[in-house]
Structures are given as structure tokens and as C-alpha cells.
Amino acid sequence: MSVATAGSIPQTRRRPVKPGKVVGRVLFYLLVVLILAYILFPFYWAARTSFMPDSDIYLTPVQYWPKNFTVQHYINAFSETTFLRAILNSALVGVAATVLSVLFGASASYALARFNFLGRNVALYLILAMSMFPGISILGALYTVLQKVHLYNTLYALIIVYLTFSLPLMVWIMQSFFRGMPRDLEEAAYVDGASQFQTFWRIMMPLAAPGLATAGILTLMGCWQEFLFALSFELSSSHWTVPLAIANTGANQASAFQIPWGDQMAETLVVMLPLIAVVLLLQRRIISGLTAGAVKG
């Protein structure tokens, strides 16, 4: 990938190093350090707080490095059943919605990318236009429907809603992915007597795995983030997802007037570390998925 920009032009010229250039370089690295500090400082602060005893957290002057270490908040986090339950709920809802989204979205995308039929553009428009659709605008109607079909206050409600709201992105990524795949393989499969569905399921789906992984990760992260629907549709704390559990940390404790920062930040770190690991491992895929829609626009 070419990385030539305004900033890197001087490197292409052969000139003796001038003092001005050294200063420029130092300033540039200072800017890099500043950017990194800006991004990472809040994480440091959360980690610092999670290892401090309660009494020290509320103390002034503020300690920038904890004087007394404790892992008590982590012990609390792992013995808090609501929180553990929430992790399980989030995992269940996220995985179920993502798997269904991949199955539904990929088959729809394949149909849209490879077949020609009446109403094809209408279907494509409808699905993609959904992406601009604010979820908040159907909150009341969804709430009513879910109560009518007795899915209110169940995890199924979230799975169905998250699945639907993830379809536009899935279809967007997957149909351009299918379009970019060569047609020879499908034709060979047809010649060998495979049915259309067999061709899709046995030949195209395995080959589309990289695209499915990208779209799947983005869907999963979207499900873990979601707060509005979870807050509105899940009444009992045994159905809370992680964002709800963290927003409510300490809500059922005796000292409701004081936020248990240590516990909350410990929970934050417990949830965050696997997420960060996933992001760092899959960063290429995530970046390509995130920018897929933007670059073509």
C-alpha cells in the first residue's frame, strides 16, 4: 500500500539532514505520543481504580499510581452473579444473533449478487435502507409486539431484534464479496450436477469464509454494545446483558448513594480485555470491514 503523503514527501528528496528537520521529526513523534496518551489514558485510569482499595479511590490528593494494591474488586466481580449471568447472556445473544445473521444474510446476499429476478433492486434497497433506520423510532411498536407474542423480558427478543438490525451490514459486505468471486467454480459445480443450494452451501459458503468472518465480527461487536433495546425489553436482572449489568453496578447494594467505582472498573476490565484481544488479533479484518462501505461511497 502506498503511504506517500504530504508528510513523507521530504524523504524522497536527497538532502543533508538539517536541524529544522530534526526538530520536525521530534515534534512529529511528540504528536504520536500525544495521540496514544489521549486514546489510552482512560483505560489506564480504569485499571488503576480497579486495583485500589475503596478508601483510596475517594481520597484526595488523587493518586496517579495506587499506593495500596488490592484484587478485592476482581473477587467481587467474579462473585457477583448478576454480572456473571450478564456475560453468559451477552455471549448467548451475541452468538445466536450472529450465527443467524450470517446464515440469513449470506443466503440473501448470494441471491442478490448472483441471480436476476423481478423485484431484486427493490429487495436490495429495502434491506440496505434499513441501515439508516433509527431503532428508536420503532421502540414503542416493538415493545407492544413483543408483549403480545410473550417474548418481552426474554433473551429471544434481543436475538430477533439484533439479528434484524445486523442484516443490512451483513448483506452489504457479503453481496459485494460474492460479486467479487469468480463464477467458474459455480459453473463447474452445476456441470457436475450440483443443485443451486448445494453449490451455495458446499462451494460458495466455505470460499466466502473471510467475508463472513469480517461481517460476523462486526455483528458480534454490535450486539455486545447494544443498550437501548436491552434496557427497554429486559426487565429482570437475570436477563441483563453486559451493558445493563455494568450500568447497574451497585444498584442493588446497600450503599446506593456511593458508586462502587472499584467493582465497576474491575468489571469493565474483565469485559474489556477479551474484547481488546479479539480486536488486536483481527484488526485487519475489522478495518477492512469498517471501511468497506466508506471507501466506495
Partner: protein, 317 residues
């Protein structure tokens, strides 16, 4: 949801490509039935979870439906008349729009700077780019909680830095509590979380600009600033437009961060908070639906403006 939807222009582009391919594929025209079957699950979801509730919302907005009351009556435009006169709704629009303007402007400017830095070859560039993804991946509710702690009036780190270390402020401030600073404070959280994402979008755009354009500018003796304003910025315009619109549409429906920091405080009620409060807490589904339709209309205005702008910029280039 945080997963980014395709940009509106990209939607149009997708449909255009679809149209072009229609003629070329006569062979599959007999396979329509298979294609319909493949589409059924997705379209069923959309119909039941999005379109049916949408139609229902519009219909309900003309009634006085309330939870716990068996009867609901058609009340015509009454809810909309109330809506237009409701100071809470006007204030909610104001909060949402101000939040959108502040965050989009700062996220764009800071994002551009970060994108330009990361687009330069330097040691540790990969690490910086990886670090940029972390705030994006963070759950919004968690980032709100992290910043709430840092904003604390007594033992918050911002007050300590500004009062005791940098001596910018004379006394500790209640950043979230006071009316004047609440909105900038919550905007700062969104800016922190989303700037790296905008930077990644702009970076992708920057990497599409061919290197020889810069070489030509260099040969012609254009300085760095001149190069930036006459080459980088115009060529980056499509990416900028997309990034700004995606953000604006997201920011207009902001909910999570305000809810965690302020709950249902009147002066920080955004459009989304108002709807959630009316429907879920007060059970006023009829009026809440009217507010929903109002939000949809406001967002539609933004989408139309964007479409006009992108058509205009496409015509110019």
C-alpha cells in the same frame, strides 16, 4: 448498534451495479424461485421486526394509546399538535443537534489530524493503528462509566489536573452536574470514543490517493500546506462526506452515553431519551410514537441534505 451501516451513497451505488448486471445474466432468469427462497428469511425478519412496527408506529401516533388502558381512541393530529408545542421536545431536538454538531466537528478535525499522522511512515505505526481500534470496540456504557469517574468533582482526575497540576481552574468543577459544562463533557466522551473510527475511515480514503499526484505537486514546487489544501483535501472529500454523515446520523439518535451519565435529567434529554421515557416509563405509546415519527422526519432531512451534497460533489468532479 455500533456496527456501521453502509453509507447512503454506497446504497445507491450498490443498486446501480445491480442494474448494470441485470442484462448480462439472462442464464439465471429461470432461477428466480431459488433466489426468492434464499431471500425469505431476511425479508421476513425485516417485515416483522422493522416494517410492521414502523407502520404501526405511524398509526399509533394518531391515537391516545397508553399501556395499562384497554381502550385507545383515534385522536387525529392531537399528538402532533402537542409535539410542536412541547418545550421538552424542542429542548430535546436542541440537545441532540448541539451534541451532533459539536461531536462531528471535533471528530472530523481530530480524526483528520490522526489520519494524516498514521498515514505517514514511521516506527510504531502499526501499534498506533491497532490502539485506535480499542476505543471503537469499547462498549459505550463502559466508556461512559470510565469518564464519569474521571469527571468526579472531588476525586476526579480532570479536576486534579486542571486545579492542582496545571492551575487552569481555581476551584473544582462539577463538569457533569452544571448546566454549562454537561453537554461539552458528554460530547468529549463521544469524541474520544469515535475520533479513532473517523480517522480509520479517512485513512482508508488517504490511501486511495495515488502517490504520483504528490510527486507531481512536489516537482511543481508546491509546499506542504498548498499540497494539503489543493490535493489532499479535495481528493479526500468523498471519504470525508461519508464519515461525517455516518457520524451525524449516529449522533442524532444518541442514547447510551446520556442515559448512563444523566438518566432522565430534563436539560440533557435527547430525542431518543425522550421517546424511551415516554413509552417505557410513562407508557404513553401514542405520544411517544408521534415523537418517534418526528425524529424520523428530522433524520430524513439530514439524509436528503447528504444525498444532495453527494450528488453535487459527484457532478463537480
Amino acid at each position: 448498534m455500533s456496527a456501521r451501516p453502509p453509507a447512503p451513497a454506497a446504497v445507491a451505488e450498490g443498486a446501480r451495479v445491480a442494474g448494470r448486471q441485470r442484462r448480462a445474466r439472462s442464464l439465471e432468469s429461470t432461477n428466480a424461485r431459488f433466489a426468492y427462497l434464499m431471500l425469505v428469511p431476511s425479508l421476513l425478519c425485516l417485515a416483522l421486526v422493522a416494517f410492521y412496527p414502523m407502520v404501526n408506529t405511524i398509526l399509533t401516533s394518531f391515537t391516545d394509546t397508553t399501556f395499562g388502558q384497554a381502550n385507545s381512541n383515534f385522536v387525529g393530529l392531537k399528538n402532533y399538535v402537542t409535539l410542536v408545542q412541547d418545550p421538552t421536545f424542542r429542548s430535546a431536538i436542541g440537545v441532540s443537534v448541539r451534541f451532533t454538531v459539536i461531536t462531528v466537528v471535533f471528530e472530523f478535525l481530530l480524526g483528520l489530524i490522526v489520519a494524516l499522522v498514521v498515514n505517514t511512515a514511521f516506527r510504531g505505526r502499526g501499534a498506533v493503528r491497532a490502539a485506535m481500534l480499542i476505543p471503537w470496540a469499547l462498549i459505550t456504557v463502559i466508556s461512559a462509566a470510565m469518564w464519569k469517574l474521571m469527571y468526579n468533582q472531588i476525586y476526579g482526575v480532570f479536576n486534579d489536573l486542571l486545579v492542582n497540576k496545571l492551575h487552569v481552574l481555581a476551584i473544582n468543577q462539577d463538569f457533569l452536574g452544571s448546566r454549562a459544562t454537561a453537554l461539552p463533557a458528554v460530547a468529549a466522551i463521544d469524541i474520544w470514543k469515535t475520533t479513532p473510527f473517523i480517522a480509520l475511515l479517512l485513512l482508508a480514503g488517504l490511501q486511495l490517493i495515488p502517490g504520483d499526484v504528490y510527486e507531481a505537486a512536489d516537482v511543481d514546487g508546491a509546499g506542504k500546506i498548498r499540497t494539503f489544501f489543493s490535493i489532499t483535501l479535495p481528493l479526500l472529500m468523498p471519504s470525508i462526506l461519508v464519515a461525517v454523515v455516518i457520524r451525524a446520523l449516529d449522533a442524532l439518535r444518541v442514547f447510551d452515553v446520556f442515559y448512563v451519565l444523566f438518566g432522565q435529567r430534563p436539560d440533557t434529554t435527547t430525542m431518543s431519551i425522550l421517546v424511551q421515557e415516554q413509552i417505557i416509563y410513562f407508557g404513553k405509546v401514542g405520544y411517544g410514537s408521534a415523537v418517534s415519527v418526528g425524529i424520523l422526519a428530522i433524520i430524513a432531512v439530514f439524509i436528503v441534505i447528504y444525498m444532495l451534497m453527494s450528488r453535487w460533489s459527484a457532478a463537480r468532479s
